[in-house]
């Protein structure tokens, strides 16, 4: 795995005080928090920053991390030293000498409140569940819920879809050792899921320790942006180009919807920006959403002699002043 330079990530010197570390973290957290940030890669950067702070804010972890030495560079290949964690006193679980465990994610008490799945392999190898730094679990404990995000297209939200997920979970073997298992789960997502909606898969969260109930897996649905439609709740909006004669005289036009093409009546005297509503043509649900069609009147270009002549005729015969009200 690759070494991570937590000081560099937070933009502080190795000699930074706890206050300086905290200030740096708060500034970067505000900058990259995925819910409010417009920066690209905000989520990845935020996780990086959170992990760095998780280590540098804790005097024990920071001291242990510093012991690795300042010669390491970000991205270099790295292994924790064999006597990792020795010489530290821990408030929670003790070191288990002689146990060479592969680091794992998920389960266990571990650092802070956020999910172990968020940590890098680098962090897990140094501070994860099987290192002396993890707090003691102890006793029967219900498995925690896991949360994951699933991105679906608008069409998939409309029709429903099946999605395959890979979940990595620790499994305790009969000899007491822990191995990371990849568990493939196929989920049937029904039609009509909206942005941010939660989907529960009972019992697919963290397995229980010592007899408790397994946690649930919650998927948070995110609907990817679509080239044609804009989504708002269950409603969709489509911008629909029309010719001037179609808008002025009205027309019966074929229009796309998520469920297929439909005929729609454009009323005579329509203008750009006007919205028409196709009831029930949005995402399914009770009640289903609507499709709004925003008309966009597009002018034919006056790029041939004939076209110019037609426009000249319009000017001469229509007696039309669009600025009549402006002069007031």
């Amino acid at each position: 795995m690759e070494y991570r330079d937590y000081y560099k990530i937070l933009g502080v010197e190795r000699s930074a005080t706890a206050e300086q570390v905290k200030t740096a973290y708060r500034r970067l957290a505000r900058k990259f928090h995925p819910d409010v940030s417009k920066e690209k890669d905000a989520e990845a950067r935020f996780k990086e920053v959170q992990e760095a702070y998780e280590v540098l804010k804790d005097s024990e972890k920071r001291a242990a991390y510093d012991q690795l030495g300042s010669e390491w560079k970000s991205g270099q290949q790295f292994r924790p030293p064999p006597d990792w964690g020795s010489g530290f006193e821990f408030s929670g679980g003790g070191a288990r000498p002689g146990r060479r465990q592969r680091a794992y994610r998920g389960g266990g008490a571990g650092a802070g409140e956020f999910s172990q799945e968020d940590f890098s392999d680098f962090f897990s190898s140094l501070f994860g569940g099987e290192t002396p730094f993890a707090q003691a679990g102890g006793g029967a404990r219900a498995g925690r819920d896991h949360h994951a995000r699933v991105d679906i297209s608008l069409e998939q939200a409309y029709h429903g879809t099946t999605r395959t997920l890979e979940l990595r979970r620790p499994q305790v073997k009969s000899d007491g050792s822990v191995a990371l298992e990849t568990h493939t789960v196929r989920v049937s997502i029904p039609a009509g899921v909206t942005e941010g909606q939660l989907i529960r898969l009972a019992g697919q969260g963290e397995p229980a320790a010592g007899g408790g109930a397994a946690g649930d897996l919650y998927l948070e649905a995110h609907i990817l942006p679509h080239a044609l439609y804009q989504l708002d709740g269950r409603d969709v909006t489509l911008t629909f180009p029309v010719a001037p004669w179609e808008a002025a005289r009205g027309a019966s036009l074929t229009m796309p919807t998520l469920g297929g093409a439909v005929e729609m009546q454009v009323r005579a005297g329509s203008q750009s920006g006007q919205k028409l509503r196709l009831r029930g043509r949005g995402l399914p649900g009770s009640p289903p959403g609507d499709q709004y069609v925003q008309l966009k009147v597009v002018l034919p270009p006056a790029n041939t002699a004939e076209a110019k002549a037609v426009y000249e005729e319009m000017r001469a015969k229509l007696n039309f002043d669009p600025r009549a009200d402006l002069a007031r």
Binding site: D35, V36, A179, V185, S188, T237, K296
Partner: protein
Amino acid sequence: MVRVTTHVLEAHVLTDSDWIGAAEICQMCRLELAAVLELGDLGLLSPRETPSGWQVPATALPRLRLIGRLMRDLGVNVSGAALAVELLEAQRALERRIRDLEALAADH
């Protein structure tokens, strides 16, 4: 690593017919009970009373989870997080409207 393929699982989509109790909200949204009650006072929740305590519709959860994240990650207090959430939602609505208007103005 051992791969184990399971059957297709039926997912239960949480809708406004699913009611979530206070304890579950605290766990799922990682909020303290005091914070959840304060959000109720601020009018962000429309709970119903049942014999087993009060409940909110599951459709409130994404918003509550967002509040939980803002409070935890950015150190915002309850009223700050509530205000932030309302502003973020208003911002998204405005962005949608802007995209509509830009679609009108764009070259065809």
